[in-house]
Structures are given as structure tokens and as C-alpha cells.
Symmetry: D2
Subunit: 156 residues, 4 copies
């Protein structure tokens, strides 16, 4: 998959009973829940949060797109390794890539594209440039972005 040398954030997630369905495996929607939780841990490790509100104005990271591929079933009580990579970083949006493993077994991969936005009562959601404090967090994870990505990045 990804070379071990690529910078990544790593956490774990235990499959809860409620995450299973009558087929005995994790219902696929939960992987999107797991991705968001892992992302939140990544942010929190650097002192940031996915969403905050102050005086009625909210700042957050609504999703532009999300996808996942399911490679092998996950079961109740599985402890999944979750790895996060910075796939693409633009001025206003961020694409994170996720990999779930149970031991050596690849369970699922996924991506979330998200944009930094402001929420104000009675106004449309407004997309903003990603602030420096988030870029400081994300920068070290750019190292392994391949040349092609960096080129498209510079044109963003």
C-alpha cells in the first residue's frame, strides 16, 4: 500500500456491538463515522477541533466528498488500525486518505475531501482559506505528496 516512510497519523478504533448488522459484520456507514473520528483525533493531537462555535458563529470543516472501498469484513470487537495521510492540500480544501487494517489484513480504504468554512445564522455557509495554524499541522504530512499532486496543487 503506502510505503512505511510516508508521514501519517495513526490511531485505533474498536468495533462496537452497535456497529454490526444482521449479516454479522460492520455496517459500511460506520467506516465514515470512524474516518471522521480519526480525523478529529488527528486535529486534536495538534490542538485543533473539527467544529467550534462562538457567539453564534461556527467554524468547521463540512465535507465536499467522501468515499470508501471495503476490502474485507470487520467484526464485533475488532481493533482496527486507522492510518491518515494528507492526500491533497489546497488553499481552501483538504483531502485526507484513510486506511483500516486488522493486523496485516487491509479492511478498508477511504478519502474525505473537506473545506474550511464559516457558519453564520441566516447566511450561506462561506468557504475560507485554511488558516496558518492548520497548515502548520498539515505541512509535515505533505512530504510524500507525489510530483503530480504538487503540480495540480500549485494550480489550485
Amino acid at each position: 500500500m503506502e510505503p512505511e516512510t510516508k508521514p501519517r497519523f495513526v490511531t485505533t478504533r474498536r468495533v462496537e456491538f452497535i456497529d454490526t448488522d444482521m449479516a454479522g459484520i460492520v455496517h459500511f456507514t460506520n467506516f465514515f463515522r470512524y474516518m471522521e473520528q480519526a480525523e478529529a483525533e488527528f486535529f486534536r493531537t495538534y490542538g485543533h477541533t473539527l467544529a467550534s462555535t462562538s457567539e453564534g458563529t461556527g467554524m468547521g470543516w463540512p465535507r465536499v466528498a467522501a468515499s470508501a472501498s471495503f476490502k474485507a469484513p470487520a467484526y464485533h470487537n475488532d481493533v482496527l488500525d486507522v492510518r491518515i495521510f494528507v492526500r491533497r492540500r489546497g488553499f481552501k480544501s483538504l483531502t485526507l486518505q484513510f486506511e483500516f487494517h486488522r493486523g496485516e489484513t487491509l479492511i478498508a480504504t477511504g478519502q474525505i475531501k473537506t473545506a474550511y468554512c464559516r457558519f453564520r445564522p441566516g447566511q450561506p455557509i462561506q468557504s475560507l482559506e485554511i488558516p496558518p495554524e492548520f497548515n502548520a499541522m498539515l505541512g509535515p504530512y505533505d512530504a510524500a505528496l507525489d510530483k503530480e499532486l504538487q503540480r495540480s496543487e500549485s494550480e489550485n
Copy 2:
């Protein structure tokens, strides 16, 4: 259970695949989700909503308490009858009672106690008197409240 003559609101809910767990039955938390959805349909039938926001101020019905008893398992694709009764109506709070049946089989019963409240940014949630338009909706459902309930009601 409840005599047929007692005023009640009736709707149905189909059990979705995602609502099941690895034991092959509906995960108990979904009954609370079903209760809220039935309550929302009850409100909507009378032109009301469980939650609204305007200029940053929200009006809604946060929950004070919720309970349920599970009598028989429900399965994927079951279509449950959901009956709502007004159990108790106070100046600021409302207790609704719920019954779930699959045909003649009682599946679950539950109660939700909820309070009418205002949400303003940066301020504590404030409990308010239930407005007349909601009381107009609820009044006809009081008919069957038993004497004891009416007495405790009047002391509220």
C-alpha cells in the same frame, strides 16, 4: 393495553437493515430514534416542528427523560405500528407515551418527557411555557388522562 377509545396518534415505521445488529434483531437504541420520528410526524400533522431556528435563536423540545421496555424482538423489514398518547401535559413539559406493535404482537413501549426551550448563542438553554398553538394540538389528546393524572397535573 390502552383502550381503543383513548385518543392517540398513529403512524408506522419500517425496520431498516441498518437498524439491525449481529444478533439479527433491531438494536434497542433505534426505538428511541423511532419514538422521536413518530413524535415529529405527530407535530407535523398539526403544522408544528420539533426544532426550528431563526436569526440564530432556536426553539425546540430537548428531552428531560426517556425510557423504553422491550417486549419482543423486531426484525428487518418489519412494519411497526407506532401509537402515541399524551401521558402528561404540564405548563413547561410534555410526556408522550409510545407503543410499538407488529400486528397483534406488542414489541415495545416507551415514554419521552420533553420541555419547550429556547436556545440562544452563548446563553444557557431556557425553559419556557408551552405556547398556545402546541396546547391546541395536545388538548384533544388529554381526554383520556385518568383522574389521578389530572390531579397531579393541576398541582404542576
Copy 3:
């Protein structure tokens, strides 16, 4: 988007209060829940189900991949039109495409790739050919599959 003449299944979904998050909009994971429910309605219209069990053996449609793009926020009480198209039909897998509209506004698009499988206790999940009764349901929706898709289909 899609030409009106393309065969599709249409249903609706109302946004429930529980589907919202503190940003005041539908949490993105719910669109995957909505897609599965619409798919289930599509199947049910033709007398089929997404999952069944008999004597401990289950038949179902576990997901191979799922994706969505979020074009505009959806809000509490929105009634979304959900359109389903058959995007690709193979011997063992099926890709459905989804579009969510609120009136004229495109809210989200998505795809789910799913495989027909058998679940037996203590055995690996086994992928099977899609049975004739499902192909009879899906066939009429193939009409608008473009030539390129049909070619790749025939090589599947």
C-alpha cells in the same frame, strides 16, 4: 444532470432532527444511510430485499465501495427527492447511482457498488452470480447505459 428519459427509480426522504449536527446541516454520513434506504425501497418495489436469513444462512448485498459528493447543505425537515440509476451491472456486482434534490437544487450525488453474497456461519462470505429475479428487476434500467459501459460490461 441525467436526461429525464433515463430510466430511474424515484423516492423521497425527509431529513429528521437526529440527522442534523451542530453546524445545523445534515451530517454527511446520513446520505449513505439515505442511499441504502432508497435502494431498499427500489428492491422492495420489485418484491426483493437487501438481506434475508433462513436456517442460519444469509443472503445479502454487502458493499464493495461507496462514495458521495455534497453539493449543497440539506436541513431539518427538508424533503429530498432521491433518484436511483443503474450505473453498471456485472455478473456478480451492481453499481447504483444516486441523486438527491431539494426542488431544483442538487444536494448530493453518490454511488454504491454492491455484490450478491451468501453468509454461512463459520465460513467466509461467498460472492455469487446475481440471480435471475434480480436481473429481471434491473434489466429495464439498463436502457440508458452508454456504449462504453456496455462494452466493459460484456468483458466482465
Copy 4:
């Protein structure tokens, strides 16, 4: 609330973004999810699990009843202390009591009554006596059960 000397199991739960609703607080259904997860951690600490399957036969703890009272709102990123007490232990059922605190603030209390059961394909769910290994886990938490409870227990 409960005296500090009463035996209890303690864990924590962080409020995730997905757990919030448009009112900006934790949706009440999540407290039931939190209770089950805490219960699972309690069981796991002693080497047990809430649900298992083997050769198509499942053993688990379906819920007989669940209730909660909500004392103060919880918010995104709150880290809640979750305390579990054995409220009542019968031959076939177990009632656990839960308390959620954020620092000194009591957020919610709840109870789950659950029964030890066997699930076999095509057969009704069967209630069984709680096995010795679970009673060994639960026994030390009985210490503070009051006399009245112990009496009703012995009549069970």
C-alpha cells in the same frame, strides 16, 4: 449521588461531532449508545463480551428495558466520566445503573436491564441463567446493594 465508597466501574467517553444535533448539544439517543459502550468496556475488563457467535449460535445480552434522565446538556468535545453500578442482579437478568459527569456537573443518569440469552437460527431467543463467570465479575459490585434490593433479589 452515589457514595464514593460504592463499588463501581469507571470509564470516559468523548462527545464526537456526529453526536451533536442542530441545537448544538448531544442528541439524547447517544447516551444509550454511550451506556452500551461503557458496559462493553466493563465486561471486557473482565475478559467478557456483550455478544459472541459460534457455529451459528449466538450468546448475548439483549435489553429488557432502558431509561435515562438528562440533567444538563453535553457538548462537542466534552469528555464525560461514565460510572457503572450494579443496581440489581437476578438469576437471568442484570440491571446496570449509569452516571455521566463532566467534572462536577451531573449530565445524565440511566439504567439498562438486560438478560442473558441464546440466539439460534430459526428458534425463539432463549433466556438462560447468568453463567458463573459473569457472576464472578459482578459479585464484588453487589456490596452496596441495599437490604431491600437484596430481599427482592432473593425472591427472584
